[in-house]
C-alpha cells in the first residue's frame, strides 16, 4: 500500500464510444476510470463531451474487449474457445493512418460463440485484414449506453456554450486592423 495514493484512484478502465448523430457509426474516443459503469458514463460525458456533438455514449470495460492489431494477427496464436453460447458482438476497425482524434469505428455486428470466433467471422465478413490495422470485438452484454432521454441533460447544454468555440473570437480581424493602422 502506498502512503500517498492509498490505492483508491485506479478503478477499472472503461473504453468510451461516441455516436455524434443518430444513425452515425460509434467511434472509440478514449477511456475513463470509474468505479462502475454508471459513473463511467458521467466521467465520459465530462471528459469527452464538453462540446457538441454527441447523440449517444457507450462505455465498455476495457477487459471485456478483444483488441488485435494487424501485427498481432500476423503472429496469431489464438486459442480456439468456440464452445460457448452464441452471443452478439459489435465489430470495430481502424482502416486509416490519417491524423484523427478517434481510433476504431463501428462496422457491424456478428453473432458468435466466443470473441475469437467473432473476430474470425468479422475478418471474413468485413474485409480483408490487410486493409484493417486494428480490430476490436465488443460483446453486446458488456455495453452500457445512454438513451434518448439523456440527451437534454447530458449533451444538449453544450450547444449553448458558443464561447467554447474558437470561432467566437475575432482575433484575426483585430490583428489585421492593428497592423493596418500601424502601417499608416
Amino acid at each position: 500500500m502506498n502512503e500517498i495514493g492509498r490505492r483508491d484512484t485506479q478503478w477499472p478502465l472503461y473504453e468510451v464510444f461516441m455516436q455524434e448523430k443518430a444513425e452515425r457509426p460509434f467511434q472509440s474516443v478514449g477511456a475513463v476510470h470509474a468505479a462502475d459503469a454508471e459513473m463511467a458514463i458521467l466521467n465520459a460525458r465530462t471528459v469527452f463531451v464538453r462540446r457538441p456533438a454527441c447523440h449517444t455514449l457507450w462505455v465498455v470495460p476495457h477487459s471485456a474487449i478483444l483488441m488485435r492489431t494487424s501485427e498481432e494477427l500476423a503472429d496469431d496464436e489464438e486459442d480456439d474457445a468456440d464452445t460457448g453460447e452464441p452471443q452478439r458482438y459489435q465489430i470495430f476497425q481502424k482502416t486509416s493512418q490519417r491524423r484523427a482524434m478517434v481510433y476504431v469505428g463501428h462496422v457491424g455486428e456478428i453473432t458468435a460463440v466466443s470473441p475469437q470466433h467473432a473476430l474470425r467471422q468479422a475478418i471474413d465478413t468485413f474485409g480483408s485484414s490487410e486493409d484493417v490495422f486494428v480490430w476490436w470485438v465488443v460483446p453486446n452484454a458488456a455495453i452500457t449506453s445512454t438513451d434518448d432521454d439523456d440527451i437534454d441533460s447530458l449533451f444538449a447544454p453544450a450547444y449553448d456554450k458558443i464561447y467554447r468555440q474558437p470561432s467566437a473570437y475575432r482575433t484575426f480581424t483585430a490583428i489585421r486592423k492593428a497592423k493596418h493602422s500601424s502601417n499608416q
Binding site: 462540446r51 500476423a74 491524423r99
Partner: protein
C-alpha cells in the same frame, strides 16, 4: 510481429513502419526505449495539464464579468480533460494512472516549469492564453503527428480545444493593449513577466537536449526545440508589436539574412532552478495538488461504496 525475428530485424521492421507513416498502436512491438521515452513525455505532459489548472483557477472568483468567468471556467475544465486524455495515452504503454498520480503527489514527477510562476494580475489570464498556450500549441501541433497512435489522437483532440484557449487570450490582450492607460500598463507588465519563461517552455537549446535525436528518429517529434521556439518568436514579435506592446529584451532584433527575430540570451540558470524545484511557486503547486487529492478522498470512498452496493431492489 513474427516472434522468430531477432531484435535487429524487429527494430528494422518497426522503423520501416514509422518511415511509411504508420502509427504504432497498443499491442504492436516497440523498442523498450521508445516505450520509456513516451511514458516520460506523456506523463509529464499530463501532469502539466493538471497543474496548469492552478494558476488560472486562482482567478475564477476574481474574473471581471460573467462572460470572462464562464470562459475561464471552461478553459480550466478543458485542462483537466486534457490531463485525462494524456494519462490514458500513457497507460496504454503499461504504466498505471495511480503510479503517475503518486509520482506527481510525491513531488517526483516533472511538469512544465511555466506553471511554477505566479499569476499576479488579471491580464496574466489573457497572456497565458496567447503566449503560454500559443507556445504549447506549437509543440502539440507537432506531436499530433507523433508515431504513437494514442499520443497523436490525444494531441489532435487537445489542439482543437487549445485553439479556443489561445484565441480567448489573444482577444483579451488585444483589447487591453488598445484600452485605457491602466489596462495597457497591466497587460504590458504581464508580458514583461511571462515572455522569458514562455520561451523556456520549448526546453533547452538543441545542443543541450540529449533526448531530441532519438525522439526525431522514431517520429515522436518532427522538429527540434530551437526550431519550434524560433517559429513562435517570429509570430509573436510581429503580432505583439502590431498592438503596440513591447518585449523585455533590449537585444531583440530582426536578422535579414535568416528572416528571423533574434532574442538576447535566455537565462538557463533560472530555467534549471525552476525545473529542479526552486521556482516561485513549486511548493505552492505541489501543496495545492496534495490538498485537492486529500479533499477528494471522501468522494472517491463514496463512489466506491456506491459501486459496491447490493443490487437495488426494484419497486
Amino acid at each position: 510481429m513474427d516472434k522468430t525475428l531477432t531484435h535487429e530485424e524487429q527494430l528494422a521492421e518497426f522503423e520501416a513502419r514509422i518511415a511509411r507513416g504508420e502509427k504504432i498502436e497498443p499491442g504492436d512491438w516497440m523498442p523498450a526505449e521508445y516505450r520509456r521515452q513516451l511514458i516520460r513525455m506523456i506523463s509529464q505532459h499530463a501532469h502539466s495539464e493538471v497543474v496548469g489548472m492552478l494558476p488560472e483557477g486562482a482567478w475564477i472568483t476574481r474574473a471581471p464579468n460573467l462572460r470572462r468567468k464562464m470562459v475561464l471556467i471552461s478553459k480550466v475544465q478543458d485542462e483537466g480533460g486534457h490531463g485525462q486524455y494524456l494519462y490514458h495515452a500513457a497507460e496504454s504503454l503499461g504504466i498505471s494512472r495511480e503510479e503517475m498520480l503518486d509520482a506527481l503527489l510525491a513531488g517526483r514527477a516533472k511538469y512544465s516549469s511555466i506553471f511554477n510562476y505566479p499569476t499576479l494580475n488579471w491580464a496574466d489570464i489573457g497572456v497565458i492564453g496567447w503566449l503560454v498556450d500559443g507556445a504549447a500549441i506549437k509543440n502539440q501541433t507537432m506531436l499530433a503527428q507523433a508515431s504513437y497512435g494514442p499520443y497523436s489522437r490525444a494531441m489532435v483532440r487537445i489542439c482543437a480545444e487549445e485553439t479556443f484557449h489561445h484565441k480567448q487570450g489573444k482577444e483579451m490582450v488585444i483589447q487591453y493593449a488598445q484600452g485605457t492607460p491602466f489596462q495597457r500598463q497591466m497587460v504590458q507588465d504581464s508580458i514583461n513577466r511571462w515572455w522569458w519563461p514562455t520561451l523556456m517552455m520549448f526546453g533547452p537549446h538543441d545542443s543541450d537536449s540529449p533526448n531530441s535525436a532519438v525522439l526525431i528518429k522514431w517520429g515522436i517529434k518532427t522538429k527540434t526545440n530551437d526550431e519550434l521556439r524560433q517559429e513562435f518568436i517570429n509570430e509573436m514579435v510581429t503580432d505583439l508589436t502590431a498592438v503596440n506592446l513591447t518585449l523585455p529584451d533590449p537585444d531583440l532584433h530582426f536578422d535579414e539574412a535568416s528572416g528571423n527575430w533574434i532574442t538576447g540570451p535566455i537565462d538557463w540558470d533560472e530555467f534549471w532552478r525552476v525545473v529542479k524545484g526552486d521556482g516561485p511557486c513549486n511548493a505552492e503547486r505541489l501543496a495545492a495538488r496534495q490538498e485537492a487529492h486529500e479533499n477528494g478522498r471522501w468522494v472517491r470512498a463514496a463512489m466506491e461504496a456506491f459501486a459496491a452496493r447490493p443490487e437495488r431492489v426494484m419497486a
